[in-house]
């Protein structure tokens, strides 16, 4: 009994208060917990994927304060006081985001494994640069890897979404 109590006392609980897809979340995390595991396993949002696990492929991309991060290599406590967006939070009350619509319309995905990361990264790109050149787009999206599409349709999807988003008031 005494040993169990001691082990619990050793555990460091860090309170993390953050906005997740627009809603306030308050959880305790241990320092070593990774953001990807907390989002997938504790919060049940499995859109983000563990793929390469070394920050190279982008399948685990989440937006923290609107900026793309590798959730596989981000400690969960780092989102204290920040806003986090996962792919599940992109649609607005069921209405798809122009990026999601564009990816469907232009065939920007096949197996869909890289897609949540692709779309979130594109959102960060267009938030920063609403009218990117193809070169600027490729530079930004360089870290999101797709094995299926050959990227052409992804670029078309993002450009189409950008055009649509620029046309909106």
């Amino acid at each position: 009994m005494a040993t169990a109590t001691r082990r619990h006392a050793d555990t460091q609980a860090i309170p993390v208060s953050f906005t997740l897809n627009g809603r306030l979340q308050e959880i305790d995390v241990e320092p070593h917990e990774l953001l990807l595991d907390v989002v997938r396993d504790r919060l049940g949002l499995t859109g983000a994927k563990r793929s390469c696990d070394v920050e190279v492929c982008g399948a685990c991309t989440l937006l923290v304060d609107g900026r793309p991060v590798s959730a596989c290599t981000t400690l969960a406590f780092e989102v204290r006081g920040r806003s986090v967006m996962t792919i599940e939070g992109l649609a607005d009350n069921g209405k798809l985001h122009p990026l999601q619509e564009a990816f469907i319309e232009h065939g920007g995905f096949q197996c869909g494994f890289c897609t949540p990361g692709m779309i979130l990264a594109s959102k960060a790109l267009l938030d920063e640069n609403p009218n990117p050149s193809e070169e600027e787009l490729k530079h930004f999206m360089h870290g999101n890897i797709c094995r299926c599409t050959g990227y052409k349709k992804i670029i078309e999807s993002i450009m189409a979404a950008a055009k649509k988003m620029r046309g909106r008031p």
């Binding site: 460091q12 320092p31 070593h32 990774l34 920050e55 190279v56 982008g58 360089h142 870290g143």
Partner: protein, 282 residues
């Protein structure tokens, strides 16, 4: 999954230094974590404690008395978007724009990059050519380390166990100062990186600094190659580039690995030196 560790979040450099002194190899400084967390995940290192240094506010960029001061905790993203750096050190901005990918640039810091001293990294090579000084701080005392003296070996710097890298100081380049950094790679990290800086006045090249990185265990300044270009006219210097490149290649201590064979890397060092010089003068 990472092994459990305790998180320390000190609010002063002195506190960080004290923690490092107290816990020794059982503690490690943690900034962006883009390198550290990877090797922890691999199980190649284990720490009882991680010391989060992001509360130290070391992410300012400023110009003071002819020196550009870059906080060690500036992320690559902050550096690539700095108007001041774009004006004074466009070569560094270009370098930072091309570090890894957008997610690593978002979290990774220049200080963390320098201190982890991964051989296949960019900033160290250019900072050497820029004559940068790195500030090693213990709280009660600090010292400046020349960038060219900072890298001892692969994953090894000349920082003492209880020193914290807090700032990078770059002498503001004058109007006649030309510099460029070029890299080459086909894997995720760069295979070869070459930096050159020199003053160009009345058609003459002087105060040349050349550094070669990524190919070997640590970036190296190549005085022998610099001597070949120093004091020459622009055209004469151009004609000496092939020889300077060969010297720089050998000096890079290129290692044969997945990034390329030794002689291949040595050759690429030469190619990049030539192109970097041409980029710098244009």
């Amino acid at each position: 999954m990472l092994r459990r560790f305790r998180l320390e979040e000190p609010e002063s450099v002195a506190e960080v230094s004290e923690l490092l002194g107290r816990f020794g190899e059982n503690a490690k400084v943690y900034a962006g974590g883009t390198e550290l967390l990877l090797v922890m995940k691999e199980g190649l290192v284990q720490y009882e404690r991680l010391i989060n240094v992001k509360k130290l506010g070391l992410n300012q960029i400023s110009a003071e008395n002819g020196t550009l001061k870059i906080g060690a905790l500036c992320t690559h993203h902050e550096l690539e978007n700095s108007a001041l750096l774009q004006q004074q050190l466009p070569a560094l901005v270009k370098l930072e724009q091309n570090v890894a990918n957008v997610r690593v640039r978002q979290a990774g810091t220049i200080g963390g990059n320098l201190c982890f001293a991964e051989p296949h990294a960019d900033p160290g090579t250019l900072l050497m050519a820029l004559g940068a000084k790195l500030v090693a701080d213990k709280g009660a005392s600090k010292r400046e380390i020349l960038a060219e003296d900072f890298f001892v070996d692969a994953y090894e710097t000349s920082l003492a166990a209880d020193e914290v890298l807090t700032e990078i100081r770059v002498p503001t380049p004058g109007a006649n100062r030309k510099c460029a950094y070029l890299k080459f790679g086909y894997l995720e990290r760069p295979s070869v990186g070459v930096a050159i800086a020199f003053s160009l006045t009345g058609g003459g090249v002087s105060d040349v600094k050349i550094a070669a990185g990524c190919a070997g265990p640590a970036p190296k300044r190549v005085a022998e190659a610099e001597a070949l270009l120093n004091g020459k006219s622009k055209d004469e210097a151009s004609r000496s580039l092939a020889q300077a490149g060969a010297i720089a290649g050998k000096a890079s201590q290129a290692i044969s690995d997945l990034h390329g064979a030794q002689d291949y890397k040595e050759h690429i060092v030469g190619v990049l030196l030539k192109r970097a010089f041409q980029a710098a003068v244009s």
